[in-house]
């Protein structure tokens, strides 16, 4: 490999120097079958006010390069934060050595055709109101005001409001002996995570209420705050935390369960998203994140849910957390139905998993950062809206419960037996929301739970959300994913309350 090339321009001062792609492309080698260089530069700012005190404001600049090499049937990677000329050169050589060392002993013999298409393209978050229109002082003032509105009662023993912004610029260049050309992809995402919480206590009873459990976030600018009503939410969050202190425990028994979008996000994630990941089905995750109750023969015929269930992989939703144009293997991303009218059609797997299984997949081979290789991940995984208003969903329930905001999640390694808990719930009696109850939980089995879906909300309750904390992979990776859903109604669910 050549050693007379320029270093990658450092992004200090501005994420994503414009000549990064050109500098990276110069390192592409035709001495190997295929290689890619993925440069990631990420800048973030975190501001938090807790109990009237501004917590230390923190900033972060992260930057590094992942080199992937396919050669002689082997696959190797090397990642470095050393973006100097010597650093890139050593990393390229290291990735090639790994490829040569693994030739003939990998799970796949050489790159699939779809993995060596050197793609070209660009993606950029659509920002309506950039953060540059505000100052740090503005952001501190906003959070100070919001947090002060949470301290409404002496029984509020802890409260906080925070705002995190993450700007990520990713550049992928690829080419090599087997590639018809050299490709370059640039993607720029701007993500906002607003949050707040109020902790209320009375004796040994503590109740916590939050702003969507951390799910009210997405790509964009200041407008993300407006989308979720961040500026107006604090009084309700605090009042409900206090209300829960004196509320009775949730009842125990089988009943109708109406889930708000900020609980549906978890239900979708754990019992649809993870089971449909092709790398889990292939067994890659058996030592850590687990396997799946879904088997390859189910695709095309398995009745995953009731006919009301429609689930899409949708990287095109404006403002959703994991919208993008290409995955980290460089595969163009497009909307696909995974489940249509309740029937399982397609899995969540990128080019390599598709080649290994012979199944259709999606462009979801993603890495959490420059220092981890791509694996099959959820991106935007959404339950499509139905035709019921929220009131119509409530009206059809004789005895049931409405739960909001996830606070507990547990599921077996096949993603089948689950138990989830929520922050806040209201009983439904004779078609009306009645009594607030605390410590609500429910349990079920994925393989049967979705078949009891008896009502799907329309666009009025459809909410576009996301989570930054999906963990998986060896070495471990935590990544942001998007979920959107309306309120959904399930029949005959085992519900329970807390111990106190």
């Amino acid at each position: 490999m050549t050693s007379a090339l320029a270093p990658i321009p450092t992004s200090v001062g501005a994420v994503g120097a414009p000549d990064t792609a050109a500098a990276l492309t110069a390192w592409i080698s035709t001495e190997v079958d295929f290689c890619s260089l993925r440069h990631v530069a990420r800048r973030s700012e975190s501001v938090e006010v807790r109990d009237g005190v501004v917590e230390p404001v923190s900033t972060s600049l992260d930057e590094g390069v992942m080199v992937t090499v396919w050669h002689q049937g082997g696959l190797g990677y090397a990642a470095t934060s050393d973006i100097s000329q010597s650093g890139i050169e050593a990393t390229l050589a290291q990735a090639r050595r790994w490829a040569e060392a693994t030739a003939g002993i990998t799970v796949i013999d050489g790159p699939p055709a779809a993995a060596i298409e050197a793609a070209q393209g660009h993606f950029e978050t659509d920002v309506t109101t950039p953060w540059t229109t505000t100052t740090l002082a503005d952001r501190i003032a906003l959070l100070t005001e919001v947090e002060s509105q949470l301290r409404i009662d002496e029984r509020i023993v802890d409260s906080a409001a925070w705002l995190q912004r993450v700007d990520t610029d990713s550049t992928i260049v690829s080419g090599g002996r087997l590639a018809a050309s050299t490709g370059a992809i640039t993607q720029r995402t701007r993500v906002v995570h607003p949050g707040m919480m109020a902790v209320a206590n009375s004796g040994s009873n503590t109740q916590r209420r939050s702003f969507g459990g951390g799910s009210f976030n997405g790509q964009g600018g200041v407008e993300i705050l407006e989308r979720f009503g961040f500026g107006e939410a604090a009084p309700r969050v605090a009042e409900q935390a206090i209300e829960l202190l004196d509320a009775p425990n949730a009842p125990t028994g089988d009943m109708h369960l109406l889930l708000a979008p900020d609980q549906m996000i978890l239900q979708i994630h754990e019992s649809i998203g993870h089971p449909l990941e092709l790398d889990r089905i292939l067994g890659d995750e058996r030592n850590y994140a687990g396997t799946s109750f879904v088997t390859p023969d189910m695709f095309g015929s398995y009745q995953y849910g009731s006919p009301l269930l429609n689930v899409t992989f949708d990287p095109d939703v404006a403002g959703q957390m994991a919208s993008y144009a290409f995955d980290d293997d460089g595969t163009p991303a497009e909307r696909q139905y995974l489940i249509r009218d309740g029937v399982l059609e397609r899995g969540l797997g990128g080019a390599i998993s598709q080649a290994r299984t012979g199944l259709d997949g999606v462009a979801n081979s993603r890495a959490c950062n420059w220092n981890r290789p791509p694996i099959d991940r959820m991106a935007n995984l959404n339950v499509e809206p139905g035709d019921s208003t929220f009131d119509e969903l409530v009206a059809q329930v004789e005895r049931g419960i409405y739960m909001e905001t996830n606070n507990s999640w547990s599921i077996d390694d096949s993603r089948n037996k689950f138990q989830f808990g929520c922050e806040y719930a209201t009983l439904i009696e004779d078609g009306e929301l009645t009594t607030t109850v605390r410590n609500p939980g429910y349990r079920g089995i994925s393989a049967t739970f979705w078949r009891n879906l008896v009502g799907v909300g329309n666009r009025d309750s459809f909410t576009v959300m996301g989570t930054p904390n999906c963990g998986k992979g060896e070495p471990n990776q935590v990544i942001e994913v998007g979920h959107a859903s309306p309120a959904c109604l399930f029949a005959d669910v085992a519900v329970f309350g807390g111990d106190q």
Partner: protein, 451 residues
């Protein structure tokens, strides 16, 4: 597999020392600078079905700076290149940025940092195997088995420096092979082999144990109904329970804000079993003995003493807020070297004492089902067996438990084994973990399984 020589990297301690010395030279007389350096040079080889799924290396270094003037300060993190010219430019830019932020933020009433010089150095680099040599041994051991897992090896390091002259350095070279032999579906023998020196005999013993467990898994599994069962929890399963307690159970802030899952121990006099003692055992653990604010950590902090709530982990910030002396805890006030004192049940007698009930090798995906009551749910995973008359009868299909830890490690805890096992954390989020847990097995008279 042919040898993969590591990429040559600058000595991280030299890089740390030169960079923080330079950074400290860039501050003004009225300023104080705190600097925390972390990094790793690691190899990762991921296996599925005995074949390599992904193999590669990660080289990374980071620096966190806290720039203080009076009671005003700001934090910032940068990724380091290792190239001094690039890194000095990044540090200079960050210092400028922190000064701009500091001019905006109010005074911080909870700012606390070390002013006594507690410099230290701990370097433990013994004989971790070359990755290709370890993989040769691993693939040989896995021959004929459905082997899945990850081998990780290399150096991890962290340093602390301040402009008052304190310097701390911690560096270890370790390996961690975390693997399963799979039988079918979700039935597998899970094991780990980790440490500072590779020993073929020790590894062979681990492999033999997994092979024997795999044989037991071949029996027809039984499906148990939800019920209360007498249960033996192997050390790896006990670790999952202590990990839950570590989630806000031992931190001062969580206790003072009434958010601790051990709230009832503080408010209602709830207790665990008299034989249960839990410590943050820094002296015998594998994590750094200094905090990211430069405070030295004591050798041991007793968290549960004979079933009674004892001390808390106190970060400098919580210490200042609540008027308690810090013991060098991290920001999250979670233990890094948790140890449960062993009991008096001979580990070899555990099945006999269990008599009839469940042998649980691993638990999985725990969470609180009622946090304030320390009620916890989770799944059995990998190898769980039904035992009758002290003999393994059959593997058990996965079960969900939902019970309070006050019962499991309290009223219903019959015994702890006399052989606490040291489990090095295989975690690799962001970078390889240096945490460890030392736990015995636990015999529980009754545990509630719900699904």
């Amino acid at each position: 597999m042919t040898a993969v020589e590591p990429a040559v990297a600058p000595n991280p301690q030299d890089h740390f020392t030169a960079l923080v010395d330079w950074a400290c030279s860039q501050i003004q007389a009225s300023e104080t600078l705190l600097a925390t350096y972390t990094g790793e040079d690691s190899d990762f080889v991921r296996l599925n079905g005995g074949a390599v799924r992904q193999a590669g290396s990660v080289r990374q270094r980071s620096l966190s700076l806290d720039l203080i003037e009076g009671s005003r300060h700001a934090d910032g993190d940068i990724r380091l290149s290792g190239d001094m010219a690039i890194d000095q430019a990044r540090v200079a830019e960050l210092l400028d940025q922190l000064r701009e932020i500091r001019a905006v933020v109010p005074e911080d009433p909870y700012l606390l940092y070390a002013t006594d010089d507690a410099s230290s150095e701990r370097i433990d680099r013994r004989a971790i195997p070359a990755t290709d040599e370890a993989l040769a041994a691993i693939t040989a051991a896995g021959s004929g088995h459905d082997l899945v897992g990850i081998f990780a090896a290399g150096d991890t390091f962290s340093g602390f420096a301040n402009s008052l002259g304190q310097r701390n350095w911690f560096q270890t070279a370790t390996f961690n092979f975390d693997w399963c032999f799979y039988l079918r579906a979700d039935k597998a023998a899970k094991n780990t082999y980790a440490g500072f020196e590779w020993n073929d005999s020790a590894f062979g013993t681990k492999v033999d144990w997994s092979t024997q467990q795999l044989e037991a898994l071949k029996r027809e599994p039984v499906e148990l109904s939800p019920d209360n069962y007498r249960t033996y929890l192997a050390p790896a399963a006990v670790r999952e329970l202590t990990d839950m307690l570590a989630w806000d159970g031992f931190g001062l802030k969580a206790h003072r804000t009434k958010s601790s899952p051990l709230l009832r121990m503080a408010t209602d006099g709830a207790t665990m079993a008299p034989g249960l003692t839990i410590t943050e055992a820094t002296a015998t653990g594998t994590a750094p003995n200094f905090s990211d604010t430069g405070f030295a950590r004591p050798d041991s902090v007793t968290l549960i003493d004979g079933g009674q709530l004892a001390d808390q982990l106190v970060s400098p910030r919580s210490g200042k807020e609540f008027g308690v002396e810090t013991n060098g805890a991290n920001t999250w006030e979670a233990p890094s070297s948790l140890a449960v004192a062993p009991g008096d049940l001979a580990a070899t007698d555990a099945l006999e004492r269990l008599d009839t009930g469940l042998f649980v090798g691993n638990l999985w995906y725990l969470n609180f089902s009622d946090r304030a009551a320390c009620r916890t749910t989770g799944m059995t995973r990998f190898a769980t067996f039904w035992v009758e008359g002290g003999e393994v009868v059959a593997p058990v299909n996965v079960l969900r438990f939902d019970d309070t830890i006050y019962r499991v490690l309290g009223d219903n805890l019959e015994a702890l084994t006399d052989d606490a096992e040291v489990l090095l954390d295989p975690g690799t989020y962001h970078q390889r973990s240096t945490d460890s847990t030392t736990v015995p097995g636990a015999l529980v008279s009754e545990m509630s399984f719900t699904l």
